[in-house]
Every structure is written in C-alpha cells, then in structure tokens.
C-alpha cells in the first residue's frame, strides 16, 4: 500500500531536493538537544553563523490523542488531555470539561465553589508553567541560578496540587460536572502561605534575571514578531500579547468565574528594545505570574468566606450519569498557559463517544511562526528565540 499518485509525493521530493542541493551547511539541532525543550528537531540551513532557513520537524512525541478520543467516552478522555500540555494539565482538562459541560447544557448548574476551585488550581498551574518557561529560558541564555530558583518555587505548587489530586503533574482532577475531590482541609491556608512566600521571591527573580544587563542584551531586539505576522500565524497567549495586543480569552470570552475576578492583561511595550522581541515575551510571562497571584488571592478570599467548605458539599454530586450531548458540533476555546487552547467536538447524539475530537494546541501554532522570525539570525540567537516561544512538545505533537 504505497502512494501511487505522484501529486502527493511532490512536496516530499521537493524537500529532499532542497536538502540535497543546499550549497550551504545543513545542521541538525535536536531532537535530543536540551535547548529545544523536548524532542523538537530543527534543520538549519546555515551560512557560517547565519541561519538562512529553519525547517522544523515535529511528531517525535505523537501519541494519537485524536485517535484515542474516537474510542473513549468524554470522561475517559480527560487523562489524555492532561498529557497534552503536561506542564499545565489543569488548564487542559478545564478547557475540555467546559466544552463537554456546555454541550450537555449543565454549565450553569456547576456550583460556585467548584468553579472557584477550578480557577484556583488552573492559576496555580499557570504559575508553575510560566516558572518553567522563565527558568529554562534563563538556562538557554546561560544563567543557571534562575532555573534552580524557579524549580524550587514550582516544587511548592507541585506539592500543593499533589495534595489535592494525588498526582504531581497529570492530575485528572477536574471532571465533567464537578471535581475529583474537594480541596483537602487546610489547603486554603497553605496556599495563602505560599502566596506570601512567593511574592518577594518574584522581586528577587526580577532583580536577578529581568533587569540583568547580560540577559537584556541577549534578548532585546532579538526575534521581533510584528503584530500582523503574529495574528496571521495564529499565535496566541504571551506570543500575541508580547507583540502588543491586549488579547486574553479569560477577558474576551468571560468563561467560568473570570468575570468576577479582577486582573489586568499584560502586554509587551518594547521597554528594552522593539515591541514583540524576546524580552517582551519573557516579560509578559513574568507579569502574568503577578496577575495569577492576584487571582489566586481573590479565589482564596471567596473560598474561605462565602464559599466556605461545608460538611454536605460534594463535588461529585452533579456528575452526569450519562454524558450524551445533543447531536452538534462545538468549538470551545480557553486561555491555556501557552495561549488559545481549543477543543472541537463532533457529537452524534447517540453515544457517549464523540465522533471526532480535534485539539487546537497553542504551542503548535506558536511554533509554526519560528521559520518566519528565525530567518537571517545568528545560531546563538535562534536558541533565544526558540526559548522565548515556550512550547511544550507534548502539546505540539499531541
């Protein structure tokens, strides 16, 4: 069973021709290179130190999410969504679960306490994800200390989420119609302790890395992504707001309890160089951590006062017996840690198993802009650009 129509192998042959006839040096970066943040392979056509062209090769971590989803029920698919962006699993399952709930028409029946707990754990997870982005970005540029500091602080978040869900990274905590379990007793107090501990740490991190002269020289004016290019390539999250657009789906779509929370949407302003350079994207992540902390405090205020835990509160009370949505198509989009995270469902109205689930991964789209912004840069700057995109290969390859 081979492809017989020559039309279909034309592009592949063109690619082979291009590599074979390249007069410049063809250099492989990855898939086992620490600065590619996972199993990403970049094929570089280089002229000395200048990168003339980047050809990304992805798929080394492809785990057939969409194929699996065709044979599992909605509830059973949630653990698979956790494994997409494994640094921010809560955000993934939150998006997926909200889509299913809206299709079932039960999204208005979810109690406020459940919604606030969901947002709380999502924002905690977002901080964890951004800490990894900042720490590994430092290590790409050559700063080793921020990496250790970020991992030390992330460890507290991991510990808390493990306490709540029983797992360190892949939680399966948010379920259709509720939660796996209520927050453990004392979680709110412990979380508040963490926020108080973490705020001065962010100031220290800013002194160490954000305002560091060497770091600024390595990242400012590098990998400038103009806003029109960012939109046309479908970039989202810090990539898009780093280019200077106030666009955050938590504000645009107003899902869950985000309309009740007070927070700003940080954007890149080109403080150190041009708007949309690597430093701006990095800074947006630092600012998003501060906003997330603000949201966590507001969630904790509510969870400790008017939405206090009661003995009869059962997060599994509203779990639907049968998850059979009406026959329809639905596309849900949410602000994940990396950008617009979308799930497209096709339900036939007869079974609990969806006909088709498509995941729109933010990293996939953010990475696709790399050949455009990395044309003509130095190889060392390419490392800085790749790091500033902050993709997770588990999500790119799904």
């Amino acid at each position: 069973m081979t492809v017989t129509n020559p039309k279909y192998s034309e592009a592949l042959n063109n690619y082979y021709q291009k590599i074979a006839n390249a007069e410049d040096m063809v250099l492989n970066m990855g898939p086992q290179h620490p600065s590619t943040h996972g199993v990403l392979r970049l094929e570089l056509i280089t002229d000395g130190e200048i990168v003339k062209e980047v050809i990304p090769h992805i798929g080394y971590l492809h785990r057939c999410f969409e194929k699996h989803a065709e044979s599992l029920t909605y509830q059973q698919t949630i653990p698979f969504t956790d494994r997409m962006d494994y640094l921010a699993s809560m955000n993934n399952s939150h998006a997926f679960v909200m889509g299913v709930e809206r299709m079932l028409g039960i999204d208005k029946d979810i109690s406020k306490r459940i919604e606030y707990i969901r947002v709380l754990v999502c924002e905690l997870n977002r901080i964890g994800s951004h800490l990894i982005a900042i720490g590994t970005y430092g290590i790409d540029i050559g700063a080793f200390t921020p990496f250790l500091w970020c991992f030390r602080d992330r460890e507290h978040i991991m510990g808390m989420l493990e306490w709540a869900s029983g797992s360190r990274m892949l939680y399966n905590y948010i379920w259709v119609g509720g939660l796996f379990y209520d927050l453990p007793v004392g979680f709110e107090e412990r979380c508040r302790e963490f926020v108080d501990y973490f705020k001065p740490k962010m100031v220290e991190l800013n002194q160490l890395l954000t305002d560091n002269e060497i770091f600024i020289n390595r990242t400012a004016n590098i990998g400038v992504l103009p806003l029109d290019v960012a939109i046309n390539y479908g970039c989202s999250g810090p990539m898009l707001s780093g280019s200077g657009l106030k666009w955050d789906l938590r504000r645009i779509d107003n899902y869950s309890v985000y309309p009740e929370l007070e927070f700003d949407v940080p954007i890149g302003k080109g403080e150190m160089g041009t708007t949309g350079d690597c430093w701006d994207r990095y800074k947006v992540r630092v600012d998003e951590i501060e906003q997330s902390l603000k949201m966590i405090e507001q969630c904790l205020d509510r969870l400790q006062k008017e939405l206090k835990r009661t003995p009869d509160f059962d997060p599994r009370a509203k779990l639907p017996r049968k998850t059979i949505p009406k026959p329809q198509d639905y596309y849900i989009r949410c602000e994940g840690a990396k950008g617009e995270l979308g799930f497209y469902f096709m339900a036939d109205g007869k079974s609990e198993i969806p006909t088709r689930v498509k995941a729109r991964a933010p990293s996939f789209n953010n990475l696709s802009v790399l050949p455009e912004i990395a044309r003509g840069v130095m190889i060392a700057d390419l490392i800085a650009i790749v790091g500033s995109i902050d993709f997770v290969l588990g999500e790119v390859d799904r």
């Binding site: 592009a11 798929g59 299709m103 390539y233 329809q328 639905y330 596309y331 617009e340 088709r356 696709s368």
Partner: protein, 165 residues
C-alpha cells in the same frame, strides 16, 4: 456582525451558489460553503471591514463515516476587533481510494496558520489541499502508510519490519 448578516454579505458578493447550506441546530451555527470558493470567501471575510475575521483558530479534517463516504474540512475563524467567531464547513464525496484523495483548495495564501493545520489534516485524515506550498506529513513519519483518522483505517502492525505493540 451576526450570522444572518454574514450570509447576506457573502451571497451579495459571490452569488447565491456560494452557501450550500447551514447548520443551526447546535450552540454554534455553521455555514456550509461551496468547496471551490473557500479561498475567496476567507479572503473576503478577513479583509472586509465589517467582518474582519483575521484570526484562524483551527482547521479540522473530518471523515464523516464509511457509509456516506464524505470528507470535509471545518474552519474556525475569529475576529479580534469584533470578538466574534464563525464556523465554515466544506465537504465533498470521495471513493476512499488512496490514489484519489479528497481535494480542497488551500487557504494558506489567506492565513499562514493554515500551513501546518492543512499538513496535519493531510497527514491524519488524508485530505489533499491544492496550492499548498509544502504539503508533507507533519506528525507521522514521511513513509507512513494510510491515514489514521479515517474511519476505515486498519491499525498498522509493522513499521519498517518492527512490530508495533
């Protein structure tokens, strides 16, 4: 701009043949577009100051099942200035032969997002996009046989003589 206005705008510009149907049963209405005209329709929706659908969220390749032998592509557009969303669908019948893939026009000239998304649809569902600059497989190896997200796909047992468990 609401759904009905977009319909009116498209029929005024391209004639009544451009919209072949609509789905309004679910939470999100969808427009069924004539497959041959999808590129100019997207260009118009992106450039028209009244719609400005400048952001392509995703492209989904769909196999509608073995009985009806129909393949389709679903486009999710979003407008950043107006904060609206729109779903477009195109579909066409096909006999499932591997040397005759269902073929649709590519919209990479309008949205560069479509580049990788169309490669993914080609890779997993086996939909060919006319005019795509670089239509290679993206997630699976270049020498993979068959298209896994088709409903009649038989799970491969061997890859290059290596047993797949």
């Amino acid at each position: 701009m609401i759904f009905e206005d977009i319909k009116l705008l498209l029929t005024e510009k391209f004639g009544t043949g451009v919209i072949v149907g609509e789905e309004t049963g679910g939470l999100q209405p969808a427009l069924l577009i004539d497959p041959e005209q999808i590129t100019p329709v997207c260009l118009e929706l992106r450039n028209n100051p009244a719609t400005y659908f400048d952001f392509l969220s995703s492209i989904t390749g769909v196999d509608y099942g073995v009985e009806i032998n129909r393949f389709g592509v679903v486009y999710h557009l979003a407008s950043i200035p107006y904060q609206t969303q729109l779903t477009l669908k195109i579909s066409r019948e096909n006999d499932r032969r591997l040397d005759n893939l269902p073929s649709f026009p590519s919209i990479t000239s309008v949205y560069r997002t479509a580049d990788w998304h169309e490669r993914e649809a080609y890779d997993l569902v086996g939909i060919f996009f006319e005019g795509h600059p670089d239509l290679r497989r993206i997630l699976l190896p270049d020498d993979w046989d068959g298209f896994p997200l088709r409903k009649d796909y038989k799970t491969a047992e061997y890859y290059k003589g290596i047993k797949i468990d």
